[in-house]
C-alpha cells in the first residue's frame, strides 16, 4: 500500500474531525437550550476523540505524536475542509454546518468500512454508531426547527445559503485519488459527493429547502489554502500547550 497517499488521506480525515470538533466545543456554555449545549459538547468530544484515534494511527506510521500534530502545526499544514473551520456565531449556522458536515462523515466512513486498509476499515466500523447519533440529532433538530415559525425557517435558509457554497470542499479530491481508488482504500470523491447529495437533497426538500446541487464550490482546504479564521482558532486551541510545550500533563 502506498504510504504517501494513505497518510495524506488520514491527515485529511483527522484534521476534519479535530477542526469541526473544536468549533462545536465553542458552543459549550452558550447553547440556546441546555440540551443543545450538552449535545454540541458531546458531539465535540466524540469528534476530537475520533481525531485522536486517527492521529495515533499516523504516529504508528512514523509521524510525530498527536499532541505535536495538533498543537504545533500552522494553518497551512492542516488539510481540513473550509466548512469545518468557519466560525458559527449563530446557532443556526452551527446546526446547519453540523447537519451538512456529519451527513458527509456518514457517507465517507460508510465507504471506509470496506477499505482495503484494515485499520481504516476497523475504525470506520467503530465510528459508525457514534456518527449515527450525530446525524440523527442533526436531522431531528433541522426538521423540527424548519417546521417552526417563519423566523426559524428564514434563519435556517440564511444559514444554508451561507454554508452551501463551501460543501464542495467536503469532497475535495486527494492529489493521490487514482492511487487510493486503485488500491481500494476509498471511493473517488465524486462518487462520495453523489452519495451525499442523494442523502441530503431529499431531506432538505422535505424541510422546505432547495439548494442548487451544481453550486457546490470552494475547495482548497485539503491543500492548505484556508480562510483567515483557521489560524486564530488553532492559536487559541494550542494556548495551554504552548505555554510550556515540554510540560508533562
Amino acid at each position: 500500500m502506498d504510504s504517501k497517499s494513505l497518510k495524506e488521506l488520514v491527515f485529511t480525515l483527522a484534521d476534519d474531525m479535530l477542526v469541526v470538533g473544536h468549533r462545536h466545543s465553542e458552543w459549550i456554555g452558550l447553547g440556546p437550550l441546555l440540551e443543545e449545549d450538552i449535545s454540541f459538547a458531546s458531539i465535540a468530544q466524540d469528534k476530537v476523540g475520533q481525531s485522536r484515534v486517527l492521529y495515533n494511527l499516523l504516529h504508528s506510521w512514523g509521524e510525530p505524536n498527536a499532541d505535536i500534530l495538533v498543537f504545533t502545526r500552522k494553518a497551512e499544514a492542516f488539510q481540513n475542509c473550509i466548512l469545518a473551520e468557519l466560525p458559527a456565531p449563530d446557532y443556526e449556522l452551527a446546526l446547519v454546518r453540523h447537519f451538512l458536515f456529519d451527513e458527509a462523515q456518514a457517507v465517507i466512513y460508510a465507504d471506509l468500512k470496506s477499505s482495503s486498509q484494515p485499520d481504516l476499515a476497523a475504525f470506520a466500523t467503530k465510528f459508525a454508531g457514534e456518527i449515527k447519533y450525530h446525524t440523527l440529532h442533526g436531522r431531528a433538530m433541522l426538521s423540527r426547527l424548519s417546521a417552526g415559525s417563519e423566523d426559524a425557517k428564514a434563519r435556517l435558509q440564511v444559514a444554508l445559503d451561507a454554508l452551501w457554497p463551501f460543501c464542495g470542499g467536503l469532497f475535495e479530491a486527494s492529489p493521490y485519488e487514482a492511487t487510493l481508488e486503485a488500491e481500494k482504500i476509498i471511493s473517488p470523491s465524486a462518487v462520495l459527493k453523489a452519495r451525499w447529495l442523494a442523502q441530503v437533497m431529499p431531506f432538505l426538500a422535505k424541510c422546505g429547502y432547495f439548494p442548487d446541487p451544481d453550486a457546490l464550490g470552494q475547495e482548497g482546504g485539503r491543500i492548505g489554502l484556508h480562510t483567515p479564521y483557521l489560524q486564530p482558532m488553532l492559536t487559541e486551541m494550542s494556548e495551554v500547550y504552548n505555554l510550556d510545550p515540554s510540560a508533562e500533563w
Binding site: 440540551e35 443543545e36 450538552i38 449535545s39 459538547a41 458531546s42 458531539i43 468530544q45 466524540d46 469528534k47 476530537v48 476523540g49 475520533q50 485522536r52 484515534v53 484494515p118 485499520d119 476497523a122 475504525f123 466500523t125 467503530k126 465510528f127 459508525a128 454508531g129 457514534e130 449515527k132 447519533y133 440523527l136 440529532h137 436531522r139 431531528a140
Partner: protein, 174 residues
C-alpha cells in the same frame, strides 16, 4: 498433553485476572466494573508471570480511558501479575450487548437505564428508539428522551412523567 493440573492453573490464572478487573470501577459509575461493562476483550499471559490485557473503549472519545487503563494496571499488579500491559483495542468494536446482567442491574441501581438489547442505532431512522424507555426508579415507560446526549458520551437524558424524575440511560452501541 493437557494435564488436569495445567487446566486448573489456567483456570486460576483467569479467575485471578477476572477478579482483579471486576474490582476496577468505571470512573463515573462506581458500582459498575470494567468487567461488567464488557470492556475486557482478551487476556493473554505475558512472559512467566505477567499479563497482557486488551480493553475495548465504549466510545472513541471517552475521556476516562487513561484513568481506566491505569486503574486496570494497578489492579492486575495487586493481583500478582508482573509485568502488566493494558492496551485499548480499537480494531474490534465495543457493543453495549457486552454488558453483563450484573452490570445491567448495577446501572439500574445507580439510576441509569441499561441499553435496550433490541435497539440498533445503525438502522434507526430517528431517535424515537430512545423514547418510552423504562424508568430506572419506578419502571414506568411514560418517559421521554430529552437529549440523545448526556453528561458522558455513553449516556442520554430522559424524564419520567410517572415519578417526575430526570434520569439517564446507557446508549445502545452496535
Amino acid at each position: 498433553m493437557v494435564t488436569t493440573e495445567a487446566v486448573l492453573v489456567q483456570q486460576e490464572w483467569h479467575a485471578r485476572a477476572q477478579a482483579a478487573l471486576e474490582s476496577v470501577p468505571d470512573p463515573e459509575i462506581p458500582i459498575v466494573s470494567l468487567w461488567d461493562l464488557g470492556m475486557v476483550y482478551e487476556l493473554t499471559p505475558l512472559q512467566e508471570t505477567g499479563i497482557h490485557a486488551e480493553l475495548l473503549p465504549t466510545f472513541s472519545g471517552c475521556p476516562a480511558l487513561d484513568t481506566i487503563r491505569t486503574s486496570a494496571e494497578e489492579a492486575l499488579y495487586k493481583a500478582g501479575f508482573s509485568p502488566v500491559e493494558v492496551v485499548f483495542n480499537l480494531r474490534y468494536p465495543y457493543t453495549s450487548d457486552r454488558i453483563t446482567e450484573r452490570g445491567r442491574a448495577n446501572l439500574r441501581a445507580w439510576g441509569i437505564t441499561p441499553p435496550d438489547a433490541d435497539a440498533n442505532v445503525l438502522v434507526a431512522e430517528s431517535l424515537d428508539f430512545l423514547d418510552a424507555i423504562e424508568c430506572p426508579r419506578c419502571s414506568s415507560r411514560q418517559t421521554q428522551m430529552r437529549s440523545p446526549f448526556g453528561p458522558a458520551l455513553c449516556r442520554s437524558l430522559h424524564f419520567c412523567f410517572s415519578c417526575n424524575n430526570a434520569f439517564e440511560a446507557f446508549k445502545p452501541i452496535c
